[in-house]
Symmetry: C2
Subunit: 154 residues, 2 copies
Amino acid sequence: MENTQWLDERETGVWRGFLEASQLLVASMDRHLVRESQLSGAEYAVLAPLSEHADGVVRARDLGKSLGWDRSRLSHLLKRMEARGLLERKNCSSDARGLDVEITPAGRNAIELAAPGHLEFVRTHFFDQLTRDEQDALASASRKIMATLQPECD
Amino acid sequence: MENTQWLDERETGVWRGFLEASQLLVASMDRHLVRESQLSGAEYAVLAPLSEHADGVVRARDLGKSLGWDRSRLSHLLKRMEARGLLERKNCSSDARGLDVEITPAGRNAIELAAPGHLEFVRTHFFDQLTRDEQDALASASRKIMATLQPECD
DNA sequence: TGAAGGTTGTTGACGTGTCACTAAACATGT
DNA sequence: ACATGTTTAGTGACACGTCAACAACCTTCA
């Protein structure tokens, strides 16, 4: 921990650039989503898997796992989303602890309205800006970074 | 807007991977920072420029501009940080609207304690994981993405 | 059976960021 | 000098995520 290895100029640029760009991209995406379709990024992330599963039902546990979210966070959000009529919470038949989350027609409608604009945003601000090589580099960088964080999110 | 261009499998992987990795990295970095030095990422971001300016004074406006933050966000955070004794808010001599933010000895101490561990985190979880080429690709990707968001954060 | 330990979801308190609004001070042009 | 518009900062209400604690349920194994 002694003798700190400071970042040189190039590294500072890479690091700050990455931080700013990723944060700004996500923030802009969220704002765009809210403006165009009254859905936050988190709500979109929940509705997307629900709308893909044939019956529109997913267990809360699985949602949390695939989103990589805290149970508490999901619980709070699901309660708010139910209040907004985007989904329903039902007790799971196979496990009395469990919670089945079911998308409502309103929820399905909301995400179907949101999806085109959202995808267009991702295309124009992300994919259209990057060469194929950059996309590949980004993917491999993402994998490697995730790998060091997965174990115990140190 | 009609005829939505869905993402293919490769693109979905790139996009989700990037989102997850960048979010996870920032979140982990924040937690690490809080655990090791009782500073949030936002607080670190404010103290860093303050500690670099010779007299430890920066105008709130300039802080906000260089961090790319909302005035309101900065105002709330500065109030909390002053309450914690990390900095002081003084009215700016040259512009009566302005606010001079001055780092306190406690603030300087806090960031000097935090910096080594923080840099080590950035090294081990970011730079050490990436080849030079990947770093360059990331930097250029960041620049291009930022460029499309700067104008009016659409 | 029953005790111990793990899983699943909820809650309340809290820190933080966003939004819309306000207020004060500056800048500009007449 | 004055009116107008802009810049700068602060405020209160609100939405959201985190944390620690909790309750209900399942599993396992003796």
